[in-house]
Amino acid sequence: MIDQDKLYSIWVYLQAEPLFWLTLTIGSYLIADMAYKKSNLFPLLNPVAMSVLIVSLILILFNIKYERYFDGAKFIHFLLGPATVALAIPIYKNWNLIISNSKAILISLILGSTFAILITYTLSLYLELPKELIMSLLPRNVTAPIAMGISEIIGGIPSLTAIITILTGVVGASLGVFVFDVMKLKNMDARGFSLGLTSHGIGTARAMSRNKNAGVYAAVGMGLSGLLTSILVPLFLKII
């Protein structure tokens, strides 16, 4: 017979320790990532979305407070800041490409990023969304670490921004090709750049898997739009 009391006391020990939550977070990600790769990078099986789903279900099922989970998982969360700084490296590596095509890149970057903010704000206002939800939506087209940082500063909810950002990436990565085909847009550089600017890392991964040039331009679009948007969003809110 299994001793119920003993099992319970082990569970009490486990859920109070960071070790368990760290292992769970990395384990869920590994499983989700494996499924994603097995599916040939099917966008709807996004590994982050799946891991968030797995961990959330476990928290809800066992009635565990989010704060307790985060207390363990914060060691992973801490790396988000350094990873944001590290985004300087891919921009630096592609600097010559940015300079050689600076006019096309700069104009598309400024107009695209501004439009992304305007359309999100206008639609949200029209649908009468609550203010904190609008603030969580505004930086949705840039890479999650930057988007969550912006969200926190402007009074959004970073957790919601994370989910919204992933959803934006998934939509862009899965439907982008159709949009471009309908528009008869053939230029791979333009396709890639637009995917990176609109759907950050998820769009960039998609572009890279299809065409090398598109992938490089996507990485450039993702990096630069992250930078510009973190300036534009607070500025936009000051103006209106």
Binding site: P47, V48, V55, I76, N101, I157, L175, L185, I231
Partner: protein, 122 residues
Amino acid sequence: MLKSVFIILLYQLIGELFQKFFGLSIPGPVIGLVLLLLTLLLIQKRQKVVPIKEDLFNSAEILLNYLPLLFIPLGVGVVMHLSLLEDNLASVVFVIILGTLSTLALTGYIMEKILRKKTLVD
């Protein structure tokens, strides 16, 4: 490895301090990103070798390879806001889909137009 980790942390720290000191509404790590990029470009412009370049590139690559993993802890925080999301789910999905597709189309269109002009001039 340790040197490049130190550099990355140092730039984040400077970025955070910069943000606090000037009361900027740009995230500290993003300021750190810009400062690191400027440093690298400045060193390159003076035609000097970037010290610990390989090391820095490697560490950055490792960090960025696991980038998706790093936003799971905050992402799970969505469990605290399920009702807010549930009440507005259709609207949020609508904003995301329409916003994303229109931005994709516009950005791609503008860039292709400029690139085509450029090839014609060339």
